[in-house]
Amino acid sequence: MKDKDSKTFSFGQVLLALGFAFILLAVTLIKKIFPFSAFEIASDILSSALLVTLILIVQPFAQKFEKNPVDGIKFISVFLFSLVVISFAFKNLINIQRVGELTTLTSYVDIISANFYNLIYAFLLSIVFSIFLKVFFYERGKEANLKFVVTFSYFAIFELLRRLFEASSLLSLLSGIQIILFIWASFRIPWVINLPKKDKYKVLLFSFLSVSFSFLLQSPFITGNAVEGMRYYSALFFSFTHFYCQPFLIIYFFFVFGSTVFHLPTGEIYERRVTELSTLQNIGKLVARVLDIKDFSETSVKIAMEITNSKSAWVEVRFSNSAQIYGRFGIGEDEMLRVMGQISHIREKFGREYFKESYHIEDLESKIVLVAPLVAHDKVLGLLYLMRDGKSYNQDEINLALAFADQIAIGIENSRLIQESIEKERLAREFELARQMQEKLLPKSLPVSEKFEISALSIPAFEVGGDYYDFVIHNNGNISLIAADVSGKGVSAAFYMAEIKGIFQTLAKIHPKPVDFLAKMNDTILGHIDKKFFITLVYAYFDLQRNVVHIARAGHLPPVLVKGGTLKFLKLPGASVGLMPTHSFRKLLKTLKFKLEKDDLLIFYSDGIIEAVNELNEEFGYERLKKVIVSSSDRHSNEIVNTIYREVINYQGEIQQVDDITIVAVKWKK
């Protein structure tokens, strides 16, 4: 038996069994001549060895029933039937005679046929017993092992005692205990409960047959002289069959029968559970696969309706501020709306924090409506409605409805999350594109002159804020500088930046003076871009011959001027470009014109600096900017820009940069 793969009977074992059978034949024949008790013991030992060998031989066959008790019982009853037939057949083939107290077989022919009978009997019994053990231990743990060992040991001890003492009253008491032990061992039959109904009927039939055949095998009417043949063959074998095997089978199968009858009604529930489970599993798969809310909610609503025995069903999915009906079955739209109207007070309650009901059943005239919320992450995403006439929903159906509601909720949530991640991905790519655009739009190199040093830095936020700076070098060597911020974010901002670049590069050359340029720019832009957009900018025109700068501000943050050691915010009047008609816009503008001297410092910056917040949500503000500029104003423009940027970054700490940060510093050298 160690080689579990061997499916065929081992030849060696068969030879061994035949050997035992042959020796037994010899012993029984000798016994006829010399009826010594030593031969009785020899035949008992031999028959035991034969039975054990036969049991080993049939193991591969019995193995098939290890996890299949229903077929096991079927085969047991079939083999028991063959035992009955054989016993009945040999009944008349074996003749007995009584010599005083002793019953022996009449002739040697009888002994030989008794040997045949017993050999076949033992073979069939070994099959029955082996299968029986598989059925007995099926789905049972160690307690079954213990119980089996106890019943068998008890049998062995009992047999031993029987040989030693022949007190019959004690014997009947002891055999009574054996019966009790069988009952104790057979008490739990777990596999019956979960059988499908069809199998339960089979089990009922075959356990009944097994009990009946076992009874027949016990009855002298069927077995008659064959029993005497067995007793003569080996008294122990007789005991094993008649006092151990058959009573055990009768009691065990009686319990199987009873237990099956008892659990027959649960068969239906079990079958339904299986369908439910597999349906839910399918829905689960569906949810994972189908991302379209409509698609899978329709499928699941339909199944939910069928499995809860409802007549109509639909699901109401709530989005931020609207509701959508999906998967309406078995009900017209008008009636559905009417029903929903009738229970609108309940619909509203779901999702409110104080509302603790996990479902609601409403009795509407003749119709029963079951409302189950679709809950995901503690949020009510919608409601599942199931409706039927008359009969209210039982707990089972309610649980099912809730399970389906959960599945639909998960599906909706998944679909939403996926949409969201697609959207996020799209946005991330858009921002990446915008960043690339912005990078390309910013000047590659800065103007170099012996008159001034100029440094610039622009760090886009993740979402790209629309900061832009640029230069135009005029034919006479003068320089126009622009620092701008386009409203909005992402690609649209980058798009408008591109437009401004075009406008700036062309218009500034024709209209180098601030007011002229800005007015032209407003003209160009107003009415040609989306009403929502506007541009703030500072425009500075550096006249290098005269060492004069002309500055105008159109809505942008006031540039900083450090002159003679004092810092000033140049709060020049002026509105953003693109807000108002040019005549009004132009009226508001005012150019500041002043002479530039050595160490004069002009700083242009974007709102990303002023509005940068720290962990306490406090803005960087003008004061801090002022301080950092004052402290660094005597350094190189490049260092000034970097110092300001570092200061802002340190101030932000762990907080993410929300807006672009742009700093342009111009420091006069002569």
């Binding site: 506007f534 159109a554 809505g555 002026g574 700490g653």
Partner: protein, 132 residues
């Protein structure tokens, strides 16, 4: 982890006083929340509400995209004899209004009642004009 961004909460509550819709803004009106706010404005304007007072008392922040929302609707509102007026700006937001030049295109008032009243004046003016 929660420090990643400042809170992006925004809320708008609408009430009606003397046929003027008062929009009480609260929180952060930035590039994201302005999308939501644009929907609110759209519904109001499409629903025929043209006299709008935007109360910014509880508004903590407004970005250029936030201003863009008002820009998007102001022409239509004015075409229909209404206006968008602002009141109760915090010092910081008032400064932004000033810098951007919004005070030149929008009427900014100190209190809600003043803003509502300013609509009445227009009505009176119109009546007078018609009488003449």
């Amino acid at each position: 982890m929660a420090k990643r961004e400042r809170e992006k909460n925004f809320d708008v509550k609408i009430e009606e006083k003397n046929s003027v819709k008062i929009l009480n803004l609260k929180g952060y009106l930035d590039a994201y929340t302005s999308l939501e706010f644009e929907e609110v404005m759209k519904k109001l304007v499409e629903g025929g509400s043209y006299k709008l007072v935007v109360n910014m008392k509880n508004l903590s922040y407004i970005s250029s995209a936030g201003f863009g929302v008002f820009m998007a609707f102001v022409d239509e509102v004015r075409k229909n004899g209404g206006d968008i007026k602002f009141c109760c700006l915090s010092e910081k937001i008032d400064e932004i209004f000033e810098l951007l030049g919004f005070k030149h295109i929008f009427n900014v008032l100190n209190s809600e009642s003043e803003a509502i009243k300013s609509f009445e004046k227009v009505r009176v003016k119109n009546v007078k004009r018609r009488k003449k």
